[in-house]
């Protein structure tokens, strides 16, 4: 049993590791590596991008760098875009505004899912008519703010992209099945049949909600709860186990004097190590703040 815990611990501690690369790490939607924006300006842009994401699920991110250091603007924009994974996975509805201050160059990189909404000509127009004139005056904040607003309006005007692709949800259901099998095993180990009954009592309403849900967001919420709620139930069962067994053994001791131990199944006699729980909650977590979208080089470039 202990080996098993150690194995799961190792497994979960290895999972979040990602290969390192030279790309700067994103911190929110607005990443100002050249320090051109004042803190309150960055705040305003951040909340603007967040409100667009909330409404349309499209992720409009911005990267301002000092210099391309000889790299090609288009290549670097694509590298950042796919490296950060701007946009939701499966929908690829991300936009990256890359501004290089000293090169006086900029690019709007558009993810696959938004290419029909924001064709290159529209991006080019935003660069020429909105961003470049402001940038020429040194108003980087205004230029970016108006560009994000314009793109947000365009995206809002379009019907929302269809929900996540089928393979994704199948993968997620597979993950849920394994996860629940795991948790059922734990609850069985903790409380035997009673644990399994408690488990199903908690999970069944959620499954029913998911099955009866009428729209996608309801379904997604139920599925999300299905992934999280059982974990807490098993966790609390695990926390409660020592107390309940303490009371139980105390009362049994009173009743049976010293022979009570023979009435308890052998797997409950050893105290359980519960170190496995703290590690396993990290499963399924995301590294960055973006959803994992990708781009094939759509968008437009410009200079000022």
């Amino acid at each position: 049993m202990r080996k098993f815990f150690v194995l799961t611990l190792i497994l979960f501690s290895v999972l979040p590791c990602r290969p390192q690369n030279a790309l700067p790490k994103p911190d929110g939607f607005i990443n100002d590596y050249a320090n051109t924006l004042a803190p309150d300006e960055k705040e305003a842009l951040e909340s603007l991008a967040a409100s667009i994401e909330k409404e349309t699920s499209a992720e409009i991110s911005t990267a301002i760098i000092n210099s391309l250091e000889g790299k090609n603007l288009e290549d670097y924009a694509l590298e950042i875009f796919n490296g950060w994974g701007v946009g939701k996975k499966g929908k690829d509805n991300g936009v990256l505004i890359l501004v290089s201050i000293s090169d006086r160059q900029m690019r709007i990189e558009v993810g696959y899912g938004l290419e029909s909404v924001l064709p290159d000509a529209v991006c080019g127009r935003i660069i020429r008519n909105v961003m470049a004139p402001q940038f020429r005056e040194g108003n980087y904040y205004r230029g970016i703010y108006e560009a994000i607003t314009a793109m947000g309006e365009t995206i809002k005007g379009e019907p929302p992209a269809s929900a996540t692709s089928n393979t994704d949800s199948i993968k997620f259901i597979g993950f849920l099945a394994v996860w629940h099998a795991f948790l059922i095993l734990f609850s069985f180990l903790l409380f035997h049949i009673a644990g399994v009954i408690i488990y199903f009592a908690a999970v069944t309403p959620l499954v029913l909600t998911a099955l009866a849900s009428e729209n996608g967001s309801q379904y997604q919420a139920a599925m999300g709860l299905l992934a999280v709620v059982p974990f807490f139930i098993v966790f609390f069962m695990g926390m409660a186990a020592p107390f309940i067994f303490g009371i139980l053994s105390w009362r049994l001791k009173k009743k049976y004097k010293k022979s009570w131990k023979e009435h308890i199944p052998s797997y409950l006699k050893k105290p359980m190590s519960r170190s496995g729980f703290s590690g396993s909650s990290r499963g399924g977590g995301r590294g960055g703040s973006f959803g994992g979208g990708s781009s094939g080089g759509g968008g437009a470039s410009g200079s000022w």
Binding site: P119, D120, A121, C123, G296, G297
Partner: protein, 188 residues
């Protein structure tokens, strides 16, 4: 009796691992081959996307520059060459031809300030630059997948499978064609 049982088990284990090794090699080749084909069709997609812009561009330029008849003829020829191209090499050459006439078409606009300033032309220029960029991206991805395939297909255990099952011994790279790597939106 017990000895026979052990021999049987060992034989089964050896057969199973041989099967696994075979399966791994074969499936890896199939997967890499599939990836090359997939990225090739992506290239064709983006090249087609650029070609679809040509009629619109020609119409726009015609509106301002009527007497560039030779150039318009060349555009038509380049397009029909593309339509007739079959192999990777032929398509590479045809795409290069189209890149050439496109950049000349855009260069012509320099002589016609009204054309250059028209919103339609600017939009087309953006679309063309985008198309060129997509071609560059997909070309890079295609060449990466070709590289992945070739390096496996030419090395030892896999080469046996290549010969045995008639996989392509070597996939062709898609070379950068002169002119196509320069987005046409540059300032002349």
């Amino acid at each position: 009796m017990k000895k026979g049982y052990i021999v049987f088990l060992v034989a089964v284990a050896i057969l199973f691992s041989a099967y696994q090794a075979f399966k791994f090699q074969y499936n890896r080749l199939v997967l890499l081959d599939q990836k090359v084909q997939e990225s090739w069709s992506q290239i064709e997609n983006v090249l087609q996307r650029r070609n679809d812009l040509i009629p619109n561009l020609v119409e726009t330029v015609k509106g301002y520059a009527k007497h560039e008849k030779e150039l318009f003829l060349e555009v038509t020829e380049a397009r029909s060459r593309w339509a007739g191209a079959k192999t990777v090499k032929e398509k590479e050459a045809a795409a290069g031809g189209i890149s050439g006439v496109l950049s000349r078409l855009l260069l012509v606009a320099e002589n016609y300030p009204e054309l250059k300033a028209s919103g339609n032309f600017l939009s087309l220029q953006d679309e063309l630059a985008g198309a060129e960029n997509r071609i560059a991206v997909e070309r890079k991805r295609y060449n990466e997948s070709v590289n992945g395939y070739n390096s496996i297909a030419k090395s030892f255990p896999a080469i046996l499978f290549v010969r045995l099952f008639k996989f392509d011994g070597e996939k062709e790279y898609f070379q950068s064609v002169e002119g196509s790597s320069i987005p046409p939106a540059v300032q002349f």
